[in-house]
């Protein structure tokens, strides 16, 4: 059915809403990629079978939803209307959930979430600190809708913003509203979105293109994927509004091929939006037409850089181009092009619906709205979190993240993906926004946030990120290609105990100039991990160089495992797990490690239950 006017949309929404009774029991099973990997498909299937077998279909709905962001605890099952929250649900739990919770209203204790701080069990989703402290404006609907059915999105006021824009606002008014909201690009650089649209709108050349950048490539980051998987229509609606404002006739979604579920859900969403008259010719009965194509990327990190992405869509090697000209003047096929990140597009309908004034009240002076972070690393609650800009790192780590596991000391947090910087524990009260992160030598990036504890070696961390950028640099310009390679080499030497004190000066000089002279954003930011670790953890570098010691016990060439006499009970567990048979000793006697045979894999350290293996 094609919607021909705004009233059609209102009618459709009312009709959909009338079919759903909000008081009716609804079992939602998260089937985002994370939960699927933990077996969510089987759990959902088991629910379907069991509900059918017991004849509960008239009383109980089953809904497959997108990612809730709490992937570590998956598969997640939330039972509406009370929003009872069960985590790590297995196929074997399904019968019990139906017979106990759904039919008798009883809570199954073992499936409840335990707060790592208070050790208390929590029953309802909205009481879990991980969710409670968030502000899920963009991400919130992921857990409520079935992303493969447009009706759910429409029922939650989906496409209202589009109807408003097409019938009540001029393109310039839309741009002005976005400008007033203070929205900035969520892909990394934080350029004001409204100004970017304006520049593209003012170009005389036609046709114009818009692109959704879904080439998310930061290790450990998956917010764009989750949004595309869990709420694809919000991104499409944002793009259509953007196209109307800019005057574009065609749009592309550049999404990496490694995201099969995101691609599948996008294809479904696009087809449905076309069928409903929300994409394609004469959208909602107006004379505005806009097509969207999905372009699969081959997984090069550098293709997230906008000029490289454009080259890739055109079928050329994904290499950045010098600017100017900017894509707004000469982008895809040398035509005016506006490119924004997935999250930026998803913010647009929200701003149109709630107004720029409302939106600009969220966040800080220069950074408005919310930001979705991928909180990972040495932290109790890992997952995707959406928070207002300006929230402190402390809140992120201790309240939402639930602190550091195993009572370890918080050491640093790395933000902004592989090109971000490491922020030390001393700056834990730093408010997270674009400017503050840049001031301390890091960046917002696409929203990666890796937490590190005392067992993390900062030199090794810098080396790890450089190994990533070394391989993912396109290799076009000298400073990025050769400079990162040389920095990596120096860091590698330091972690092997071959560093000199003069290396630190050379490293700093290299990092500064690579940042200053590289062609694109990749090279201009890749040295950040080196610069920030040198700035905040210089002592750790010096210990590696002067004492040939790795304080965190990570760098294999600088550590030594030995048995602690007082703690060893001679259980021989270490002896059994050692892959090189470097450990000897009789049962119930002190074990001994042959340093010549030891390959420093750490298996004994992990296996010992009595803290009898020490690292020096």
């Amino acid at each position: 059915m094609k919607l021909k006017r705004p009233s059609d949309l209102v009618k459709a929404r009312k009709s959909i809403q009338s079919r759903y009774d909000p008081k009716k029991t609804c079992v939602t099973v998260c089937c985002g990629t994370g939960c699927i990997a933990s077996g969510a498909h089987d759990v959902a299937e088991a629910f379907k079978k069991e509900i059918g077998k017991r004849g509960l279909r008239p009383r109980v709905n089953l809904r497959i939803t997108g990612c809730h962001g709490f992937c570590e605890k998956g598969p997640l099952v939330v039972i509406y209307p009370k929003r009872t929250f069960y985590q790590r649900v297995k196929v074997g739990d399904v019968k019990e959930i139906i017979s106990q919770t759904i039919l008798k209203g009883k809570i199954i204790e073992r499936l409840l979430y335990v707060d790592p701080v208070t050790k208390k069990k929590i029953i309802y989703e909205d009481e879990i600190p991980f969710y409670k402290k968030q502000r899920r404006l963009i991400f919130g609907n992921n857990g409520r809708i079935d992303p493969t059915k447009i009706g759910y999105y429409i029922a939650l006021n989906g496409y209202t913003a589009l109807a408003k824009v097409l019938y009540k606002m001029s393109p310039q008014q839309v741009i002005d509203e976005i400008k007033r909201s203070g929205l900035r690009g969520r892909g990394g650089a934080g350029f004001p979105t409204g100004a970017k649209w304006q520049l593209c709108r003012e170009q005389k050349e036609k046709p114009k293109y818009i692109i959704c950048n879904a080439d998310e490539g930061d290790p450990g980051a998956f917010m764009d994927r989750s949004l595309l998987e869990g709420n694809p229509h919000s991104v499409l609606e944002g793009m259509i509004i953007g196209a109307y404002a800019i005057g574009a006739e065609e749009g592309y979604i550049y999404v990496r091929n490694e995201y099969p579920l995101a691609i599948k859900h996008l294809q479904i969403a696009l087809k449905q939006a076309q069928d409903w008259g929300l994409v394609g010719k004469n959208i909602l009965g107006t004379n505005f037409s806009f097509r969207i194509k999905i372009n699969k990327g081959a997984g090069a990190f550098v293709c997230g850089e906008e000029s490289a992405l454009i080259a890739s869509i055109e079928g050329r090697i994904g290499e950045p181009q010098p600017r100017p000209p900017f894509p707004a003047e000469s982008g895809l096929w040398e035509k005016p092009t506006n490119i924004n990140n997935v999250k930026t597009w998803a913010n647009v309908p929200l701003i149109i619906n709630k107004g720029a004034k409302w939106y600009s009240r969220i966040g800080t002076k220069t950074s408005k709205g919310t930001m979705i972070f991928s909180l990972v690393g040495k932290i109790n609650n890992t997952g995707l979190v959406e928070v207002p800009m300006g929230i402190s790192l402390r809140k992120m780590v201790y309240e939402i993240g639930g602190g550091i596991p195993n009572g370890k000391r918080f050491k640093a947090v790395q933000t902004g993906g592989p090109s971000g910087g490491c922020i030390p524990a001393s700056l834990i009260d730093l408010p997270v926004d674009y400017e503050k992160l840049t001031e301390v030598g890091s960046m917002m990036g696409s929203g990666g946030m890796v937490v590190m504890d005392e067992d993390t070696c900062m030199v090794n961390v810098a080396k790890y990120f450089l190994s990533f950028t070394r391989d993912e640099s396109c290799g076009k310009c000298t400073p990025c290609r050769e400079g990162i390679k040389q920095m990596y080499g120096i860091l590698d030497g330091i972690t092997r105990g071959k560093g000199k004190e003069s290396d630190l000066g050379l490293l700093k000089e290299l990092a500064e100039i690579v940042k200053d002279s590289s062609l694109c954003g990749l090279g201009q930011t890749a040295p950040n991990p080196v610069l920030t670790t040198l700035r905040y953890f210089r002592d750790e570098y010096l210990t590696h160089i002067r004492d040939k010691r790795c304080p965190a016990g990570v760098c294999q060439d600088l550590i030594r495992y030995s048995v602690i006499k007082e703690n060893c009970i001679g259980c021989q567990l270490c002896n059994k797990v050692c892959p090189t048979k470097a450990i000897s000793g009789k049962k119930k006697e002190l074990q001994k490690i042959d340093q010549k045979k030891c390959i420093k894999c750490g298996a004994c350290y992990d296996a010992c239950k009595f803290e009898a293996i020490g690292v020096e």
Binding site: D471, I484, S517, L519
Partner: protein, 271 residues
């Protein structure tokens, strides 16, 4: 009507912009790069990956200059950056020199035996590299790849891999079915790592793992042009009448071509 159109076109071409380079004010046509503008003022800017016949590329970074635009100051590649109205550029600041020196020092580490790199390094004040040396001979300036694509129209070679593993080669590193052996790549290669050798009836391009059969000169009988190149040129030159040359001209080696011409001139002048 037509003249009006032409006038408009001309107007577009001759739009001028004013800018300042090293405190010298100048006016250039819109679209001129900073490198070209500086050259007009006689300011020397080193380059490695630039060639005036090819599209600007901006990869080697030895032509960096400092650009001041309002409150923003930044380094840009002068070979790609267009002159803009009111722009202020400086080619000899400390920051510029430091950046250029580092790029050439990095290239010197990559190709320590390359004459061209060593020469430029010395000129920029880099006597030796502080970085770990490699034994590469190619600086990845991309001139070969670009001339093959932009001027010859073949794209027989390209970059492969990313980052530190980047290199120039033929598809799958095997004998190229596209290479016509014209030698434009070797002609432009600044480090002279691409070598071409004619051995009796074959042209050998070892760097591209390619060997092509040669054709004899119709006059002297010496092997001189790859058969595939001759074929390609004939296809490319659609009308020999238009260029006022007989088709056979391609089948005569340059030496004989010169001799025939000079013989004709002798006849004409009567010497």
């Amino acid at each position: 009507m037509q003249s009006a159109k032409l006038a408009m076109k001309n107007e577009k071409v001759t739009k001028m912009v004013k800018l300042t380079i090293n405190n010298k004010k100048m006016e250039v046509e819109e679209g001129t790069t900073l490198l070209e503008a500086a050259q007009k003022l006689g300011i020397e800017i080193p380059t490695l990956c630039h060639h005036s016949a090819l599209k600007p590329y901006g990869a080697c970074r030895v032509c960096l200059v400092e650009v001041i635009k309002g409150s923003k100051v930044g380094l840009v590649a002068s070979c790609t950056y267009p002159a803009e109205e009111g722009l202020v550029a400086k080619t000899d600041t400390k920051r510029v020199k430091r950046a250029r020196r580092l790029s050439i020092e990095l290239l010197l580490a990559r190709c320590p035996t390359s004459e061209k790199v060593r020469e430029l390094a010395l000129k920029l004040g880099v006597k030796k590299t502080r970085f770990k040396e490699e034994k590469e001979e190619c600086i990845l300036c991309g001139l070969c790849v670009r001339v093959c694509e932009e001027m010859i129209g073949k794209s027989a070679i390209s970059f492969i891999n990313r980052g530190a593993d980047r290199e120039v080669t033929t598809p799958f590193k095997i004998e190229s079915s596209e290479c016509i052996g014209c030698g434009a790549c070797a002609y432009l290669c600044p480090t002279e790592v691409i070598k071409i050798e004619d051995v009796i009836k074959y042209r050998k391009l070892d760097f591209w793992n390619t060997k092509l059969e040669l054709k004899k000169c119709k006059v002297c009988g010496r092997y001189f042009i790859p058969t595939v190149e001759l074929k390609y040129l004939k296809e490319k030159i659609k009308s020999f009448e238009e260029i006022e040359l007989p088709e056979e001209v391609l089948e005569v080696c340059p030496k004989c071509r010169r001799r025939i011409l000079s013989d004709k001139m002798k006849e004409f002048i009567g010497g």
